[in-house]
Amino acid sequence: MSRLLRRLAIAGVCALSLWTGAAQAQKQGGVLRITHRDNPPSASIHEEATISTDMPFMGVFNNLVVFAPDAKQNRLEAVVPELATSWAYSDGDRTLTFKLRDGVKWHDGKPFTAEDVKCTWDVVSGKVDGKMRKNPRKTWWFDIKDIVVDNPLQVTFHLYDPQPSFLVMLSGGFSPVYPCHVPAPQMRTHPIGTGPFKFVEFKQNESIRLERNKDYWKPGQPYLDGIEYSIIANRSTAVLALESGKFDMNITGELTPELVKDVQKEVPGMQCLVQPSNTQGNLLINRDRPPFDDAKIRRALVLSIDRKAFSDILSRGIYNIGGAMLAPPEGLWGWSKEFMATVPGYGADVEKSREEGRKIMASLGYSAEKPLQLKVSTRNIPDYRDAAVLLIDHLKNVYIQGELEPLDSAVWYARLLKKDYAVGMNVQGTGIDDPDVMFFENYTCGSERNYTAYCNKDLEVLFHKQSQMKDFEARKQIVWQIDKTLQEDGARPIVYQAQGGTCWWPHVKGLHLAVNSIYNHWRLDDAWLER
C-alpha cells in the first residue's frame, strides 16, 4: 500500500512539474550575458572557421534553412525552413528551388530578396570575387553549377550531381545569407543581417553587443532585449565570473569536463552539458619528406597510438574514440564498435599493435638503441601541446624518438603550407557532422584544409559516390569504408575526438544544444530569461 502511495506521489510530482513546465510562458526582456574566450578575428561568419565568430554573430543572421532548434541531433531530417518557406527538388535532384519569405528586411531597412541568396553563394563558392579576405569553406560548395534568381522570392540552385548533404550544409551556423549591398569589409566590422539581433558594437578584446531586432520576421521574437558577450581571455576568471552570477552562461564547449564538475560542485543548480566539440586531435604526417614517404613507417607510427590513453589522460575517459567521422551515439556517421575493431590500430590489444609497429621499424633498421629521431611540431597552445607530449611518449614504443617543437600560431599554418614539418599534432574542428563536409574539406586533392596534401583519386571517386546517395544506411557503409582507408593510409590519423562543456544558470531558458555540433544553435531567437 505504502509503495503504491509513493508511486502515486511521484507520479503526481512529475505531472505537476510537467504542467508547470508547460505553463511557463516565455518572458520578454533582459540581456543574456555570455563569457567569450577570445577576440573573434572578425564578425564575418563566412570568412572564419571558429566558434569565436560563429556563436556571437549567428544571431545577427538567418539561413535559408536551419536545423530545427529542438532537434537534439543535427541531421537531414531535422532541417526546417528559415528565410526559405519551402524547397523542392527536380531534374533528378539536380535542381533545388527555394521559395523565400516575403517581407523580410535587412537590419538597415533594405528588403531581402533572392538576389541576396545568389550573391552569397556566388561568393562563397568562389564563382565571384566578393572581396572577402578568406573563404575557408569554398570546398563545401563544389556541387553548385549555377544559381538562378527566378523572381525576387524564388531562387534555384542547379547542382552538378544530386547531393542530399547540400541541405545539411545550408543549415549550419556557417551558412548565413549575406546582404548583396553591404561590402565585405563592413561585414567584418559591422555586420548587417536579417536575424533576431542587430549588431551594436564589437570592441576588440572587450565585448560584443547585440540588441533585439524589433522588426524581426518572427512575430514576438526574440524574447531577449539583447546579448552581451564579454571577452575574458583568462579561463579561470571566466569560470569564477560565471559562478559569481555576473554572467548567465559561458561560450559553448569551452569548459573541460573537469571544469564542468568543479562548476557544478560550486553552484549545484548550474545546468551543464558536456558534448562533442566537433574538434579532433589528429596527426599530420609529411608524406613527402623521407622517411615518411614510406607507407610502412607511417603505418608503424599509427600503430603506436593508444587512443584510450589519450582519452583517459586528457579528459578522464570522456573523449570519444573513432575515425574522421564523429563516433556514435552522438555522431551519425561514425563506426560501430564492431567495425572499429577491424581498423588497424583501433583494436583493444594496443600492445599487439605496437608489437607489429616495432616489427615494421626493425625491418627498416631501427631499434631501441637506434631509434628514428624526429621533431613533433605543434602549436604552442595547451590543447595541442598536451596531446603532442603524449604522442611523443607513445612513439617511443615503436622506436621513434620525438622532440617537441612548439610553434607560435603565426608560424603554424605557414609551416604547414610550406610542408616544413615531419610530424605535426593538430587539433581541428568541423562545422557539421556530415561526410561531405569532412571528406571534401579535409581530404580531397587540392583542398586548402588538406594540410598533408593527401591525394587518393580512387578514394575521391567514393567521396562523390557517397555524396550522391539518398539511402542513409547504404551511404553509411561507404562512409565507414572511406574512413577506414583514410586511417589505414595515415592520411591524417585521428587520435581523439574532444568534448567540451557549456554551463548556464537555471534562469536561462530556451537553449537548444545539439549532441553532434556546437556550431549550429546560436540564433537564440527563442531563448529567454526567467528572472
Binding site: 578575428p41 579576405r133 583568462n234 579561470s236 569564477l240 600560431s409 603565426a410 608560424v411
Partner: protein
C-alpha cells in the same frame, strides 16, 4: 637648468627614434605576419588570398619605405588602421589609455602609500616583531606572482562575498566601482610596494646612522622631527629613482592584472596586438609607452632637485 632641460628633451627625441627603429625591426624579425594569423582563424591557407592581403596592407613594400610611411604618418598625427579591426588605431587606443592610466596611477599611489610609511616604520622599529612581520610581508610581495595573487583575490571574493571585482562598464554601485579599481590596483601595486618598503627601510637605516641625524637628536629635536624632517627626506632619493623605474616595470604587471581582472586596458591590448602581428597597433602603442616612460624618468630627475636642493643640473 634650461640648458639641462633642452639637453634632456633632445635626448628624448633620440631615444624615441631609437625605440621606433628597434620596435619596427623587431616586429618584422619575429616569424609570421598578420596574414598568417588571419588564416589561422580560418584553419586554412590560400596562398593567393594570403598574397592579396599582404599586398593590400603594404607588407610587400621595402622595409625602409614601410618605416618611412609609418613615421611620416605619426609625425602628421596619422597612426594608420588596425590590421585586425580595420578601424583607425587612434580610435582603438584612445579609449583604453584612461583605463590603464587610472589603474597604473592607483597602483603607484598604493605602492607609495603602503611602501614608504611601512619602510620607515620597519627601519625605526628595527629588529622588533613588527619589523620582522613587515619584512615577511615585503618578501611575500616580491615573491608572489601577480597573476596568482589576482586569482587568489578573485576566488576569495567569489567564495566570501559572492561577487567578482572584474571590469564592468556600468558598475552597480559606487562600492562596486571602487572595488573594481582598487582591488586590481592593490594586486599589481603589491609587488612595487614591497620593493619600495625594502628600499625605504635600508635607506632609512643608513641615514639614521649618519652624523647629522645624531646632531639633530643632540640638539633636542623630537624623534618624529628627526625621522620625518631630516632622515626621511634624505632617504627618499633612491626611493624616487625606484619609483621611476617601477613605473616602467608596472607595465609588465599590468598585462597580467588586466588579463586576470579582465580590464580592457592598453597593456592587455598590446599583448593581443603582438599575437596578431598587428604592426600599426603594436608600433604606436610601444611608442606611446616609451614616451610615458621617458617622460616619467625626466620628471623623476627633476624631482631630485626638489627633494635635495644640493643637486643642480646646470652645474
Amino acid at each position: 637648468m634650461l640648458t639641462y632641460l633642452i639637453r634632456r628633451l633632445l635626448l628624448m627625441i633620440v631615444t624615441l627614434f631609437g625605440v621606433s627603429v628597434a620596435i619596427f625591426l623587431l616586429l618584422r624579425i619575429v616569424p609570421g605576419n598578420i596574414a598568417d594569423i588571419l588564416f589561422d582563424s580560418a584553419g586554412m591557407i590560400d596562398p593567393s588570398e594570403k598574397q592579396k592581403i599582404i599586398a593590400d596592407l603594404g607588407l610587400d613594400l621595402p622595409l625602409p619605405l614601410q618605416y618611412w610611411s609609418w613615421l611620416n604618418g605619426v609625425l602628421h598625427g596619422e597612426l594608420g588602421f588596425s590590421y585586425v579591426s580595420e578601424k583607425p588605431v587612434i580610435d582603438e587606443i584612445l579609449p583604453r589609455i584612461p583605463i590603464t592610466a587610472r589603474l597604473a596611477g592607483l597602483a603607484l599611489v598604493f605602492a607609495i602609500c603602503a611602501g614608504v610609511p611601512l619602510g620607515v616604520i620597519s627601519a625605526v622599529k628595527q629588529n622588533t616583531k613588527l619589523d620582522y612581520a613587515l619584512r615577511v610581508l615585503s618578501l611575500s610581495g616580491l615573491s608572489m606572482p601577480s597573476f596568482w595573487l589576482g586569482l587568489l583575490i578573485l576566488m576569495a571574493c567569489v567564495r566570501w562575498f559572492g561577487t567578482i571585482p572584474i571590469y564592468d562598464r556600468a558598475p552597480a554601485s559606487i562600492w562596486a566601482w571602487i572595488a573594481m579599481l582598487a582591488i586590481p590596483a592593490a594586486s599589481v601595486g603589491f609587488r612595487s610596494s614591497a620593493l619600495i618598503m625594502r628600499l625605504t627601510r635600508s635607506s632609512m637605516l643608513e641615514i639614521l646612522r649618519q652624523d647629522f641625524v645624531r646632531t639633530a637628536k643632540s640638539k633636542g629635536l623630537s624623534d618624529n622631527a628627526v625621522t620625518y624632517d631630516h632622515a626621511l627626506r634624505n632617504a627618499l632619493l633612491p626611493v624616487i629613482t625606484t619609483i621611476g623605474v617601477e613605473t616602467a616595470f608596472l607595465m609588465g604587471g599590468l598585462i597580467v592584472t588586466e588579463t586576470v581582472f579582465n580590464i580592457p586596458g592598453v597593456a592587455r591590448f598590446l599583448v593581443e596586438a603582438i599575437r596578431w602581428r598587428d604592426y600599426p597597433m603594436v608600433q604606436n602603442l610601444v611608442m606611446f609607452i616609451a614616451i610615458v616612460v621617458v617622460t616619467v624618468n625626466l620628471i623623476v630627475d627633476l624631482l631630485y632637485m626638489l627633494v635635495d636642493p644640493r643637486i643642480r643640473y646646470s652645474e
